[in-house]
Symmetry: C2
Subunit: 229 residues, 2 copies
């Protein structure tokens, strides 16, 4: 006979930030069993009258104080036993924050929330490593066919920031000239009249991603795509 169980529904988020040629992920330290004191993805149970997106945003706010600039659903995990105590289905999300928001708010306990470099991750609770890997793959592939890289940069950025972001996240060298030519050919960047002064080297023009323009182009069948040699 069928048993209709009391399955719990949770959301978890993999939130990426990027700064100084380094990709980071936002994690929290669990305060309760199971996996007490382990690091885990921020998340929690969905409440009665909120949407899944609202749940993610609420949990992120409560647990980390971080404001999210881009959020999309990633995947749902529901294998029995992934939480050792209850049956929990987790709907996971993929988030990006700009450097402005890439910091922890003062009112959260800093010991329990931390940005980790993607290259120095601790062991994670539950199946969160699997979720994180999926998110990383998503970020990498999405970078090549949607202009989401800009979500990880300041509103105005020198071109080289974009270049380095691609190189860092995709973990491969790219030809600067060809990359610049390609991106500029899309005509989705606006050149500002501002100048960025690096610590050393020649100053650079600042660019801005023109979302408006992108949407227009998109409606006319334009398809963002970056490939590499």
């Amino acid at each position: 006979m069928k048993v209709f169980p009391n399955i719990k529904v949770a959301v978890d988020a993999v939130v990426f930030g990027y700064k100084a040629k380094e990709l980071s992920v936002l994690l929290i330290k669990r305060g309760v069993q199971p996996y007490k004191d382990s690091w885990a993805l921020p998340g929690g149970l969905v409440l009665e009258n909120e949407s899944l997106e609202q749940a993610v945003e609420r949990e992120l706010q409560e647990e980390t104080g971080v404001t999210i600039d881009y959020l999309e659903q990633l995947y749902s995990f529901g294998k029995p036993g992934r939480d050792p105590r209850n049956r929990v289905i987790s709907i996971t999300y993929f988030g990006l924050v700009s450097p402005n928001h890439f910091k922890l708010q003062a009112d959260t306990d800093a010991a329990d929330v931390k940005w980790f470099s993607i290259n120095e991750l601790p062991d994670l609770a539950f199946d969160h490593d699997k979720i994180l890997n999926m998110a990383k793959s998503r970020l990498q592939s999405k970078l090549t066919y949607q202009p989401i890289g800009f979500e990880l940069l300041n509103t105005e950025f020198p071109f080289s920031d974009l270049e380095h972001l691609y190189q860092t996240i995709l973990n491969q060298k790219i030809d600067r000239r060809n990359f610049r030519k390609k991106i500029l050919s899309f005509e989705i960047l606006t050149e500002t009249d501002k100048i960025y002064k690096p610590e050393s080297g020649r100053p650079a023009k600042l660019f801005r991603f023109n979302q408006q323009k992108y949407k227009e182009l998109q409606e006319n069948g334009f398809h963002f795509e970056i490939k590499f040699a």
Copy 2:
């Protein structure tokens, strides 16, 4: 104060079949309220000890008797109010069946299960139209970057079947010569020594998708991709 609700977890599936230049979807007629007598996607609540995939396969078996050849997760829907009575989170799946399985089993009540042409869909219960549209988009885009079209064809098929499948599903004309050249250049098809005799016209060689070969290529960085003029 927070209320942890008894949210129900369901799975629903959008299953596509293809035959004679027509794309179809598998629907069931609801026997109970709400939306009694409306057509809906096959699906139902997840049981205590089954995975989400098992739940989908079980529901499809129970409700339609159809065997699925390809299954992947589509998206999760959880907006409050999408089911007028309970809070139900639905994890939706996207399935494909080959022409062999593109029929209803005798032991299901034929009046309650039906394949509908994608061009002649009835009104659907809940938010199932939204789910179906998302599945259709997924099918269309996936067709261009993964060799899933073969799941909708017989194991051995004349080349023109593939051609027509792409034209039908993507709803656009393609150049036969360029298409054939492209697909054959991937070297993922094996030419059999069998001949297909159409009702009229010149007989055609039968091909077979070489999954083995595809996986090998994939591991060496090969990336399936079909574009159109």
